[in-house]
Amino acid sequence: MNIYINGTGCISPQETAQGGLLLATPREYETVRLATVDPDYKQWIDVKQIRRMSRVVKMGVGAANLSLEAAGLTAPDAIITGTAYGCLDDTGVFLTKMVNQQEEMLTPTAFIQSTHNTVAGHIALLLGCNGYNNTFVHRGFSFENALLDAIMILKEGSAQHILAGGLDEITNHSHQLLTRFGLYKKEPVKTMELLNSPSRGTIAGEGAAFFSLGITKQPGTVAELSGVSTLYKPLWEGEVIGHIMKFLEDNNCTPADIDLIVTGRNGDIDHDEIYEEIAAALFPETAEASFKHLCGEYPTAAAFGVWMANAIIAEQQVPEAAVFFGKAPEQINKVLIYNHHQGTHHSLVLLTAC
């Protein structure tokens, strides 16, 4: 059974929400913290609802709606989200008040909105969707697990259209705290130079990307979601190489069949080494595109990568801002997205033009 990407929606630090050619006018920043370019959310959410929504909820609902509109769907049969951090802003608000007010006179709104399934719940509520609803919250696998769940359910035949997506937000608290963990560069960097920076650390990012997946192809469909796989804490590079080989084999192809690899390089010299090794071992001549200089690093950033790969297949060309190495062939048929988060969570997604 084939699974098709019938529509996508993305809200990110790039101008991805407004349609048009992929990265026609890339936004370049000089910072260590990117923020989403927000569309007008009131086109999807009425004022009564929006007053309670934090940014991550709005960007999730927005990207979900964009992907449904692109697929020509009013409501899916199932909604599955992946978010590592969940609703950080409301968590921070409630936690702060709880500490400062010594557990007295607290209000419910922030607590209710802090649960990790808030976004999937709101989408169901807004669409009136009584179908399957799930939320994965497993760090750098959150989005991939959501895709895998969707694939399994579609294959089982209990749903025909599934909305699946990955999203995370940055808040002042989270940025301050993750900075203390040493995740980010010490000085602001020009984002278009990020991937060549010779130092440790990356830049923080955020965003939401949703996919309308289905078992039948729609008029605007350009790609199949051929496979998803995760690899947890590989012991050495050889295990990653073996895993990629096995994944391609399971999908009836070899490295030579891959027209473009999309990698999760983030400009941290320690983290990017593995991409060099994989490219050298399996894809020495293959064109490579990358995306974290565009959307920043966050646990569900691979969702942006998959969104970008789908757009590249649609346009049959890699925009200048995304090129990392080489030149993609005339026909871009198979695209492999390889991402890792913090060296511990490696994932593969294979898209095939259709």
Binding site: A84, G86, G121, A124, L125, T135, M152, L177, Y232
Partner: protein, 398 residues
């Protein structure tokens, strides 16, 4: 895709016992776990009874063989997951393709809330070590690493149905030949964050809760962890599985963010879907482990949905939350273990403190412990915020 999935074992730690036999004994003895808070430091200590696991972190760390300074949520998870694995008789975990799928609602929040007190006073203050395992997924990984699980790790957070949804995803992983065994369920320790959160909703009972009683006024929070071991057909053939995991469904109420619809739409759809997957008629269900939180809203919605689906043949039913309290992300896992055991040993669990018939419903919960019934099929309900409704069905081994 047609492969069946079996329950090979289970483990529970909760306010009524540190392992499954201790929990069952508490049901036999009619000993619920609610008391004044002993371990959670909160200003509401003497206001709201809770069902805490009766051990401090040092004791739990000893049992878990993990460091004492990590989140209580991980310690509880490890203890129940290890009991589950050992009860399965599978032996050396490295011999199998194993997945660990765990639900929780607030990750390492018990440590984060301690950290925040120092951090809010000074942005450079607080020990970062306490934040290391804030993420829900990090709790799962601490336990997966300790168990030696590498093939698939995942965490689900759908509020009070997290643990139940972990079983569904685990079952699909086996049926899709991604792994052969999945330890699936959920964990949650009590935190001030959740206690205060539920308090803002004014649904915490200041007395021990009374699920499905007409005079009920709210829920009691609990803590704990519960996991089943799901195995494929080929592995089940070598073991003596407890029962078969025959059906499940997840539906969304799509009514309100926290409240259930008055007619229990999502509840009905989840139960109906689970029956359909099992290929069963409602009258074939012998016992329902209710979600039964004890709030006005939940019990009436759940009851009306049961009435709609089961009338006039009502199975025995009860809310074990009247003993364990509402353990949130763990409840779906804990109650899955109780339900699987119910099929295996014919147990009908008691619903504590039921006295007054709900006027909206034509049925009442069981009030006494009994075992040795011939229960062919048992249903377990878990419903949560965000409209998330899940039902699971466990069946005798054929």
């Amino acid at each position: 895709m047609s492969e069946k999935v079996w329950i090979a074992g289970g483990g529970v730690i909760s306010g009524i016992g540190l392992d499954v036999p201790a929990c069952i004994q508490s049901f036999r003895d009619m000993q619920p776990g609610m008391t004044a808070m002993q371990y959670l430091p909160s200003v509401h200590r003497n206001t709201f009874p809770v069902a805490e696991v009766k051990a401090d972190n040092a004791t739990l760390a000893d049992m878990a063989r993990m460091p004492e300074n990590i989140s209580r949520t991980a310690l509880l998870s490890m203890i129940a997951a290890r009991e589950a694995w050992q009860s399965s008789g599978l032996g050396d975990i490295s011999q199998y393709r194993v997945g660990f799928v765990s639900g929780n609602t607030v990750g390492g929040m018990d440590k984060t809330e301690d950290f925040f007190a120092d951090y809010l006073a000074n942005p450079r203050g607080g020990r970062l070590q306490q934040l290391l395992h804030h993420e829900c997924g990090s709790i799962t990984e601490l336990v997966a690493d300790q168990l030696g699980v590498r093939h698939h790790v995942s965490t689900i957070s759908t509020a009070c149905s997290s643990g139940a949804n972990a079983l569904m995803y685990g079952s699909r992983l086996i049926r899709n030949n991604i792994v052969d065994v999945v330890i699936a369920g959920g964990t949650d320790a009590l935190t001030r964050f959740t206690l205060n959160g539920f308090n803002t909703l004014m649904i915490l009972d200041q007395q021990p809760c009374r699920p499905f009683d007409d005079t009920r006024t709210g829920l009691n929070l609990g803590e704990g962890a519960g996991y089943v071991v799901l195995v494929s057909d080929s592995l089940a053939a070598r073991l003596q599985p407890w029962c078969r995991f025959s059906g499940f469904a997840n539906a969304n109420d799509a009514y309100h963010q926290t409240a259930s619809s008055p007619d229990g739409t999502g509840n009905y759809l989840a139960m109906k879907g689970a029956l359909d997957m099992s290929g069963l008629q409602p009258q074939q269900i012998g016992y329902i482990n209710l979600h039964g939180t004890g709030t006005q809203n939940n019990d009436v919605s759940e009851g009306i949905a049961i009435n709609r689906l089961f009338a006039p043949h009502f199975p025995a039913m009860s809310s074990t939350k009247s003993f364990t309290g509402h353990t949130l992300g763990a409840s779906g896992g804990i109650e899955a273990v109780f339900s699987a055991l119910s099929v295996k040993e014919g147990i009908i669990y008691p619903n504590a403190r039921f006295e007054h018939q709900m006027k909206e419903l034509p049925f009442a919960p069981a009030t006494a412990f009994s075992a040795g019934h011939d229960l062919q099929h048992v249903m377990s309900n878990s419903f949560g915020f965000g409209g998330n409704c899940s039902s699971l069905v466990f069946s005798k081994s054929y």
